[in-house]
Symmetry: C2
Subunit: 418 residues, 2 copies
């Protein structure tokens, strides 16, 4: 069987199962999620053994320490995955919710209801917990799922997906609804993202390279996620202590994630009072500062920012800093280099706050708070399958409702169009 045939066979099976899963009751889906959580914990030894093989291969291939950390599983992490499935079981099932409706003048009733998307392809890297998260969210929202994980986590993912599939089917989820592509052939991704008619959407989760490859080559609809070149703009006259606390949190608290800050923009009238202590705090926290010419004048350790720096998601303890002439220059900089993820202004000025929130084109626009809050759990959605940075279908943190579509049900008694 070629890779194409293998992927197509899985897509056909998922497509067949999707019709049945779409009308599977919430009671059965919740029962399945709880059984899947139990099975994951019961299979911990098997999962850890598989994960040890992935870790060994990773070390042999000189994988970076941060990457190894994301790959590593433990009893605690397996319990957390199981707990995640139990939490998804407690969330409201969006399928069947009535979104809108009316009676037309001719007596027809029109009701718009939520339905599953159908078959969702998830393409991801490194972290094996995504396997359990994605399967759980897709099962709950009534979607069949095809998972294609990174080769570095292949052994772990095979075992996790196998355990979850078996438990789900035993609990009444239609056979075929959960598909895992147990191959490290990259061709499988290329095939999956062209399965129009069988796959309804693909969601890539990973680095910019993966996401761009999917966007450029997919013929199936794509939801772009998670590339974040996020800015914090410190306005003149802001509460500079608050600004420093926000700017430290947004950069340092967890620099590898997409809602962390990459560029600090400082009003030129704020720089003298705000920046020296800010730089001291950043250096103390181990942050490397890359700056514009005016910023460099504040400290000789600051290297000059290039055009590429402004557009880079560092994902580590590097930070670009630019001194700007005011709100307009900050807005222009964000429009040019931002990735429409999360942007923040720290200000005391009502009009500047209002203008910033209205004019910045991003999924999440903050006044006086850290960009780190852009997250489905923080926003109170109880789940997250990714953060959409595109404008179609869903924008920002995506939870269960974002994994649904809708259809119109029209009921009549013989109406015809005149």
């Amino acid at each position: 069987m070629t890779t194409y045939e293998m992927v197509r066979t899985k897509a056909e099976a998922a497509h067949r199962a999707a019709g049945e899963l779409a009308v599977t009751s919430t009671v059965i889906k919740n029962k399945a999620l709880l059984a899947m959580a139990d099975a994951l914990e019961a299979g911990a030894a098997e999962i850890l053994a598989a994960n040890a093989k992935d870790m060994e291969a990773g070390r042999a291939n000189n994988m970076k320490e941060s990457m190894l950390d994301r790959l590593a599983l433990s009893q605690v992490r397996i319990n957390a995955m199981a707990e995640g499935l139990r939490q998804v079981a407690q969330l409201e099932d969006p399928v069947g919710n009535v979104l809108d409706g009316r009676r037309l003048p001719n007596g027809l009733t029109v009701t718009k209801v939520r339905v599953p998307l159908g078959v969702i392809g998830i393409i991801y890297e490194a972290r094996p917990n995504v396997t359990a998260d994605a399967i759980g969210l897709c099962v709950k929202s009534g979607n069949a799922v095809i998972l294609k994980g990174g080769s570095e986590a292949l052994q772990s993912n095979i075992v996790i997906a196998g355990i979850l599939t078996q438990a789900a089917e035993a609990a009444g989820i239609p056979a075929g609804a959960i598909q895992f592509v147990d191959s490290s052939d990259r061709q499988a991704v290329t095939d999956l993202i062209k399965m129009n008619g069988l796959v309804d959407v693909v969601i890539p989760r990973g680095g910019a390279g993966l996401i761009q490859a999917v966007v450029q080559n997919a013929t199936v609809p794509v939801i772009e996620t998670g590339i974040g070149v996020c800015h914090t703009y410190v306005d003149a006259g802001a509460d500079y202590d608050m600004a420093r606390a926000i700017a430290i949190n947004a950069k340092v608290q967890r620099p590898a994630v997409c809602n962390a800050m990459e560029t600090l923009l400082v009003h030129e009238d704020a720089a003298a009072e705000f920046l020296p202590q800010m730089l001291t705090e950043y250096f103390a926290a181990g942050v490397t500062i890359i700056g514009c010419g005016k910023t460099q004048a504040f400290d000789k350790r600051i290297r000059a920012a290039t055009e590429a720096d402004w557009a880079t998601e560092y994902g580590d303890l590097r930070l670009s800093v630019k001194i700007v002439s005011g709100l307009e220059e900050a807005l222009a900089h964000i429009a040019k280099y931002g990735t429409k993820h999360s942007e923040c202004i720290v200000t005391s000025d009502y009009n500047h706050a209002r203008t910033f929130q209205q004019r910045v084109d991003a999924a999440a626009v903050y006044v006086n708070a850290s960009t780190r809050f852009t997250d489905g759990f923080e926003f109170g959605f109880g789940a997250e399958i990714g953060i959409s940075t595109q404008k179609l279908h869903a924008r920002g943190p995506m939870a269960l409702p974002e994994l649904t579509s809708s259809k119109y049900l029209i009921s009549g008694d013989g109406q015809i169009r005149g």
Copy 2:
């Protein structure tokens, strides 16, 4: 300037204008729409002169009569276009509407508001009234628009777009927000659908060939519209007079449109009572019947349906007819050959009605009414930019709200993540 450079220049101008248009007030947008309507009527002579050139070229190229009819403009059609713009002015502006919101435990307020999509590309064929409709809906929903019409209507479209752009800008719409690709080079389509970062979505409106070419080649998100292989299933025990009235209306009233029926499915227990009179009515209406073997037994004028027939959107007075063993076979046939547009069951059985609406995967699922009602105006939306047959972002008739995205506004007083 190459075609690519021309398209890119227009996309950049639209992208620049989109930021300003997104925050342009409803008052200005409505004033512009009314001014555009007046300008269209004032420019009728110029529009008709340009249309005469297109018609002449069409006749010289042996264009089909139905195509010529769609291309032809008249004073009445120009007035209707103007009236359409005035109606759009009266619709509610979706931009700025609050969709959701909450206060988080840490005191942050999160508000989800509607925002324009940004820049919308519309790729369409033949009918020059689409130029005015699309510009009107995009202006009202705060989106910049790039139009690429068919070469057969180029002269008409150039004049219409020119008149509307001038009137819009004079009334305060940002310069550049309305772009028309005044070229019949097909390369312009290929370039437009790859303008990631400048174009937020493309909506193809036209035949299956155009839509598939866009879906297969676009890297920008696409909303698929309007291919309809729609079915009507007549259940055993249905009100057969009602069924015949619906089946005539769905096929005959306007066969060229996407919500017209292409295939009639008849329960085998209904056939003897229902079908003879149905066929008599169809033949009287000039309908050509293509049928399965069992259907052919009812009349010698019925030619045998091929596999291709079941999957074809005839768009004219041809109809495929199949006698099925019951609801399950009808559902399976629709799942295999339907295009997820509009599907109907005519039945008196509660459980069959419920099962059909739950299990058919389509934008609009009818009980006892003609599929011809799938339309933004009929549904009471007051507008329509197309009918989405995909599941992402929008499904079914798309009006102003479907031309928007959302963003989260988060306001705090120094919150940082722990």
